[in-house]
Amino acid sequence: MGELIFSLSYGGSLIVMGWITKVFLIKMKRNQEAIKEKAPIEKVGM
C-alpha cells in the first residue's frame, strides 16, 4: 500500500505544484491589472 501511495504521490506532487503555480500566476496578473488601472504606464516596478 505504501508503495502505491508513493508511486502516485511522486508525480502527483508535480500536479499539485502545477495548481499552486496557476494560483500564484492568477494573483500576479490581478496585481498587474490593478497597477495598470492606477497608472497606465509602459513599465513599472523594479
Binding site: S9, Y10, G11, I15, M17, E42, G45, M46
Partner: protein, 533 residues
C-alpha cells in the same frame, strides 16, 4: 584511460569558457550577476547544477544503495517543491531588489549593516563547509578514476573550478553550469537502461532488487529499518524523510546558492519558468538515478564505501563511452556546485564585508579586482582545509546546507511579507538559527542523540522564529525599510508583458503533464515490477 581523457577534455572546455568570458566581463554587475541577462535555460541550468553535486551523485547514491532509495525519493517530493515556493515567495522579490548579493538584500531591506554582516558571515561559514565537502567528494572520484593520489586530485579540482570562477565570475559560472546540467542529466537518463539491462533486464532487475536477501526491504517505501539499520522504525524513517525534505525545501527556496540565481534572470517571468523547469528536472533526475542505483545491489552488494556505487557502475557495467559521460557528469555536478559556492563566498567577502566594514564604496574596477583577489584567498583556504580534513561527502553537505534553512528561512519570507519585523528581530533570528543548528549537532558529541522530529535543524528553526518574534518587539521600523519593502512588493510590468505572461501561463500545464508522465514511469518501473510475485 578513456575516463581520464573524458575528464581532461571536459576540464579544458570549462577553463576555456572561463578564459573566453574573462574578456567579456567589464563591470561588477556582469561579474556578480552575469549582467542580469540569464534566459530560462541558463537559470534552470545554474539552479539545478548548483544544487546537485557529489552529495547527490555520491553521498545520496550511497545512501540509496545501502537500502533507502524510496525514502530518499519521498524526501525529494518535499524538497523539489522549494523551487516553486522559493521563486514565488522569495526569489522574485529578491530579483526586484536589484541587489548583487543576498546579504545585500537583507541589509537594504532592514537598512542595517549589522543584518547584512550577519547574513554574509553565515553565508561564508556555511557555504565554505559545503564547498569543502563537495570538493573532497570530487577529489575522491578523480583519484579513483585517474590513479593519482587524493591530495593531487584535490589540487587539480581546485585549479579547475577556481580558475574559471575567478576569471569570469557569474558569467562563466552560468554558462558552465548549463553545460554541466546537460552533461549530468544525460548521464543519468542514459545510464538507466544500461544498468537495468546489466542487472537482468526489465522488469527482472527491479523484481530481483526488491527481493534481495542482502537488502530486505530495499525497495519498500521505508527502506531497511529495525535494529542495526540506519533508520529506526518505518514511521521514524518516514518522519525523517518528510522533515529533511521540508528542511531541504527551505534550503532550495532561500539558500544563497539557489536564491542568488534569480538575481541573474532577465526578468521575473524567466525566474518563474526556471523554477518550474528546475522542479521537473530534479524529480525526474532523482527518480531515474535512484531506481538505477537500487538495481546495482543485484550485481554487486558489497561496494565499499557505498558513496562510490555510481562510479563503480560507470567503470564496470555500462559501455565505456557511457562510463565516460557518467564520470564526467558526476565531476560536472561537483564542479558546478564548487564554482557557484566560490563565486558566492568571494562576492560576499568583497561586497558585504570588506566594502561595508571599511565604510567606503569601491569603484567598479576596484570591486572587480578585489573580488578576484578575495576568491583566490578563500579558494586557497578551502584547499588547505580539504587536504587536512577527512572526506565525508553526504553528512557535512547535509549539515552545512541545512544551516541556511534555520538561519535564513524565517527571515527570508518575513522580510518580504511582514510589516512588523525589525532589524533587531532579523539580526537575532539569523544568529540564533545558525547557532541553534550547531548546538543541536554538538549534542551528538556528548552522546546525546535527538529524536528525528527534534533534530538540529528543528532546534535552529524554533530558536530562529522565537528570536524573530521577540527581537521584533524591540527597535523601530524606519521610513527606508518601509519604502524598500513597498518597492519589492510592486509587481513589475514588462514592455512586452502580455507576450511574456502568455508564455508563463503555459507553465502550470507543463508541471501537470510532467506529473502524469512521472506517475506512469513510477508505476511502470517501480510499482508494477515489485508487485509481480
Amino acid at each position: 584511460m578513456a575516463f581520464l581523457i573524458g575528464i581532461i577534455v571536459s576540464f579544458c572546455v570549462y577553463v576555456s569558457i572561463g578564459i573566453f568570458l574573462f574578456r567579456k566581463v567589464k563591470s561588477s554587475e556582469e561579474y556578480y550577476v552575469s549582467g542580469r541577462s540569464g534566459n530560462t535555460l541558463m537559470i534552470t541550468g545554474t539552479l539545478v547544477a548548483s544544487f546537485l553535486s557529489t552529495v547527490s551523485f555520491m553521498g545520496e547514491a550511497g545512501f540509496s544503495y545501502e537500502g533507502y532509495p524510496i525514502l530518499l525519493l519521498i524526501l525529494v517530493i518535499f524538497n523539489a517543491s522549494g523551487y516553486i515556493f522559493g521563486v514565488f515567495l522569495f526569489g522574485r522579490y529578491l530579483r526586484r531588489s536589484k541587489s548583487l548579493t543576498v546579504p545585500e538584500f537583507f541589509g537594504n531591506r532592514f537598512h542595517s549593516k549589522k543584518v547584512r554582516l550577519a547574513a554574509a558571515i553565515t553565508t561564508i561559514l556555511g557555504i565554505s563547509a559545503y564547498l569543502v565537502a563537495v570538493t573532497q567528494g570530487a577529489a575522491v572520484l578523480l583519484a579513483e578514476v585517474s590513479g593519482v593520489s587524493y591530495p593531487i586530485a584535490l589540487i587539480i579540482m581546485w585549479l579547475v573550478y577556481s580558475s574559471f570562477t575567478i576569471l569570469s565570475g557569474a558569467k562563466g559560472v552560468m554558462v558552465n553550469d548549463t553545460i554541466m546540467f546537460f552533461l549530468f542529466s544525460i548521464a543519468t537518463y542514459l545510464s538507466f537502461p544500461y544498468i537495468i539491462k546489466s542487472a537482468g533486464g526489465f522488469p527482472n532487475a527491479i523484481t530481483k532488487a526488491a527481493n534481495l536477501a542482502e537488502r530486505p526491504d530495499l525497495l519498500s517505501w521505508h527502506g531497511i529499518t529495525g535494529s542495526g539499520a540506519t533508520m529506526g522504525t518505518p514511521w521514524e524513517a518516514l518522519a525523517w524523510a518528510v522533515i529533511m525534505g521540508l528542511v531541504w525545501g527551505i534550503v532550495i527556496a532561500v539558500s544563497p546558492w539557489q536564491s542568488s540565481r534569480y538575481l541573474m534572470a532577465k526578468n521575473e517571468h524567466v525566474a518563474i519558468r526556471a523554477g518550474v523547469w528546475a522542479t521537473i528536472s530534479i524529480l525526474s533526475v532523482y527518480l531515474f538515478l535512484h531506481i538505477s542505483i537500487s538495481t546495482i545491489t543485484t550485481i554487486k552488494a558489497d561496494i565499499a564505501p557505498t558513496e562510490k556505487v555510481f562510479i563503480w557502475a560507470a567503470m564496470n557495467i555500462v559501455p565505456t563511452w557511457l562510463g565516460v559521460i557518467i564520470i564526467s557528469g558526476i565531476m560536472a555536478a561537483a564542479l558546478s556546485s564548487c564554482s557557484s559556492f566560490l563565486q558566492i563566498i568571494g562576492s560576499s567577502i568583497t561586497r558585504d564585508i570588506m566594502e561595508q566594514s571599511r565604510n567606503k564604496k569601491y569603484t567598479d574596477h576596484h570591486l572587480l579586482r578585489t573580488s578576484r583577489i578575495s576568491m583566490v584567498v578563500i579558494s586557497l583556504i578551502i584547499l588547505l582545509i580539504g587536504l587536512f580534513q577527512p572526506p565525508a561527502v553526504m553528512w557535512i553537505g547535509y549539515f552545512a546546507a541545512t544551516l541556511f534553512a534555520a538561519s535564513w528561512g524565517p527571515i527570508a519570507i518575513s522580510s518580504v511579507f511582514s510589516k512588523k519585523i525589525t532589524k533587531e528581530g532579523a539580526f537575532w533570528s539569523i544568529v540564533f538559527g545558525f547557532f541553534g543548528v550547531i548546538l543541536g549537532e554538538s549534542l551528538g558529541m556528548f552522546g546525546i542523540s535527538l529524536p528525528v522530529y527534534f533534530n538540529s535543524v528543528i532546534i535552529g528553526l524554533i530558536l530562529s522564529i522565537s528570536a524573530l518574534i521577540i527581537g521584533s518587539k524591540y527597535g523601530v521600523i524606519t521610513k527606508e525599510e518601509r519604502e524598500f519593502q513597498a518597492n519589492i512588493l510592486q509587481t513589475p510590468i514588462e514592455i512586452d508583458e502580455q507576450k511574456e505572461m502568455n508564455i508563463t501561463r503555459r507553465y502550470p500545464a507543463y508541471l501537470m503533464i510532467s506529473g502524469v508522465m512521472i506517475i506512469m514511469v513510477t508505476l511502470m518501473f517501480y510499482y508494477w515490477p515489485i508487485n509481480m510475485n
